[in-house]
Amino acid sequence: MVSWRLRTLDRKLMRDLWRLKFQALAIALVMACGISTYIMSMGTLHSLTETRDIYYDRYRFADVFAALKRAPLSVAERIADVPGVMTVYPRVVFGATLDMPGLDEPATARIISVPDMGEPPLNVVHLRRGRMLEPRETDAVLVGEAFAEKHNLNPGDRVTMVINGHKRTPMIAGIVLTPEYVFSIAPGGLMPDDKRFGVFWMSRQALEAAVNMDGAFNDLSLKLTHTAQVKNVLDAVDLELAPYGGLVAYERADQLSNWFLSGELDQLKVMATVSPAIFLSVAAFLLHIVLVRLIATEREQIGTLKALGYGNRAIALHYLKFIAVIALLGALMGAVAGYILGKNLTGLYASFYRFPMLTYEIVPRVFIEGALFCIIAGFSGTLVPVVRASRLPPAVAMRPAAPPSFRQTLVERLGLERWFSQPARIILRHLERRPVRFAFSVAGVGMALAIYVGSSFVVDALDYLLEVQYDITDRQDALVTFVETRGSRALEEVRGLPGVMRAEPGRMVAARLKAGPREERTSITGILPGGELQRVIDDKLRAVTPPESGLVLGRKLAELLEVRAGDPVEVEVLEDRRPKATLLVTAIVEGFIGARAFMDINALHRLMYEGPNVSAVAVSLDAREAAGFFAQLKESPLVASVLRTEAARKNFDETMGENMRTMTLFHIFFAGLIAFGVVYNTVRVAFSERSRELASLRVIGLTRGEVGYILLGEIGVVVLLALPIGCAGGYGVAAALSAALDTELYRIPTIVAPMTYAHAILVVVTATLISSWTVWRNIRHLDLVSVLKTRD
């Protein structure tokens, strides 16, 4: 019935589109933003997921992990008998410090044993350059690619390391990757710092000898059968390892590198849903107002076409094609941009996440879905007006529409009109006549503002987080951690090092906390009463002194355990004598990083049945002598790691900050586009509806300025109302994002800096000014005669 080759009608379509090209383009661009984010995130998600799965599988990434103090290999054999366990891989894993040229402080290394002969059964490494270790080769190591790149290490180079008190200078045989460290973050770190943390592999024979682990292991990886009951295996492993200083066994989902990677994938999923939804709904709204206006102008044409013998379907199809062209244009631009962005994003990921191979893969399905979403969004915004237009009885369509009915505005009904000029009253009447569209316009502009605020808040929040973290709670310049827990003499030794202005004892133990059925593996940090370097704070950022007994929980941990101050918590320390106790929660403290617990340091010593032992020392340094301080530590056999605050902060700023700034630029662009799309279309539609009236006003003697004031005043009211709503909405988006980004590792506070609001407002106001300017030009050239002649 409906001919698809309505050539002449299509010609009309193309001319209509050309006349409305800027409006159409603005809408298509908004759509393109949504679709490009979709294609970018889905494509990247797909590439990352596929690559990860293949990598994990091919390199036999373990399912269960456990660390312990030391156990004979016979224990591993027993664990092999646990139902559900397919492969057991006992290893020796040891920390070391590295003396790297170009780095003041010692870098931290993690050294992992590999079998003396043949491939490891699990967690296989992938050789990038150089060669694998020869059988029983003891003076060589493999090094992770990330660290090697940062230090420009090549096969054949030697590195200086202090391992278990002995200095060694093994040769680098090869540069490798491993599924265990796709994302290599040092224990206790916030961000990967490949300059200060590296992973090495050494033959078992050599490592065993260096750290006295003959016939023993301190790290366990397991591969499970498909039908294994993971929980049962974890319990069985914990039971077997407890006598050997076992820390709690965990499954792959909790493995740090994998956990980060999964988190990233989840965020991509959120990005792939939320942003396109926002952009496409804005586009649908814009198409709606543009199409309603178009149909209103073409009422008579619709009637004429029907009189000529065009049916409802032909009319509907005509307008749907109009929408489809814009939608497909949006989809096309979105596809191109999405492809480019996806490639770049994947490239960015490839620098953070180390895979043997990561390329952005074109997934045709994603592109097709993107185009479909555009069409669906376009049609959903316009189907009702299109159907209504197609059903217009021809006789009715050809009669000019009844003049719009105006009534006194709220202002006038309240008797306030003498406060408003005549033009101001015209503005108010127009706004009141179409309350729904007015509301939508305000919502649209507000949404642009909210998107801007909501997406740039992360930068503010991270600034705040870093400030709290490094200026208020962890104020040391460096944290020196020891290989073994040491007596109080260690504190004095550190105090005696050059440049140390202040040194405070640090004591941290691994522990399992239970409250009812909930259980968390965490650490308890001892807090020195009156200490200045490591402090805990309340929600007003005031230092809190932990009471002499009882447990202080970070807010995240309290939430996870579902406990409040006054509730009891069962504590099982996983170190030394593994004491158990039930402690009362005495306070909940603020903290954005980690789910941690704290105690008065003396109370912690009592719990541990120990004297004033330290596992670390926090120091503040005289900057001039810092280099000497670090140089001495490089030589020390007892130091496991040195965490330098300044470096951590700078690293954070460089890696995270850079990403954030790039993302923020995108969001400025996106928010600006939405603002522009909404404002421009609102202004154009208002102009088209009003041009006759405005021309009449000009004819009776109003100046251009007065006429412009009437038209642009309307958009001014919309924008003014949208500003507070958008700012409030932006805070809401920020709060929602905070909640969505809340993980066990860190919490992003809902902090929006005043400057962020100011920037957002600037973006929206600029978009408004540009749109207004284009209309202003039209007002100046308003052709009085022709406008009054044409009927519409």
């Binding site: 009309k12 008579e300 076409l305 009189a307 000529l308 013998g309 006789a395």
Partner: protein, 234 residues
Amino acid sequence: MTPVFDIRGLTKTYAMGETVVRALRGVDLRVEAGELIVLLGPSGSGKSTFLNIVGGLDVPSEGQVIFEGRDLSSLSEDELTFYRRNHVGFVFQAYNLVPSLTAKENVDLVTEITPNPLSSVEALSLVGLGERINHFPAQLSGGEQQRVAIARAIAKRPAVLLCDEPTGALDHTTGIVVLEAIADVNMRFQTTTMIITHNAAIAAMADRVLHFADGRIAREEKNASRALASEVTW
């Protein structure tokens, strides 16, 4: 010979909120093939309503319009569309050209969807516009626009040509050119034609003149002979 239209008891009422407007109050009429009928009557007497119903643009409240033996009110919406498409040509007072299409394209709108049309150029030549086929409506005078509308109406070789005040917006000389075009088509193709006008002088052109008043045909005259359009003055 069966009439082209057999119209019986046609009424049309519009509900306007509280009040009811009775636009047609029972119109009966038989129209023979090839007739040229002029409809006269004061504004609001129901002429347009009548023509719209006859042309399938509107449906009656009561009564029947039987076109070549088929009752229009029994047609579905699609069938009514096909009735308009294949049998009826309309000319309106406001020309109703699509402003974004040229003269030729406005005619193409019709020739593309009808089974046995004249070519667009042919139709435009018939109304004397062979030269200006690529002009947009805004580039044509009122009379030229109306002639494009006539070309568009006749291009499908319609059985009936319905014209609602075709000269209403035109000056005398231009009006005559337009009326000549309509009369010419009526003669040449034996197209049954109905013209609404305010101008009693035009009535001289007609075979029959119907005087509308208050929703009814108040009076009917038959002309023994038809005047030429050029003889008409007003």
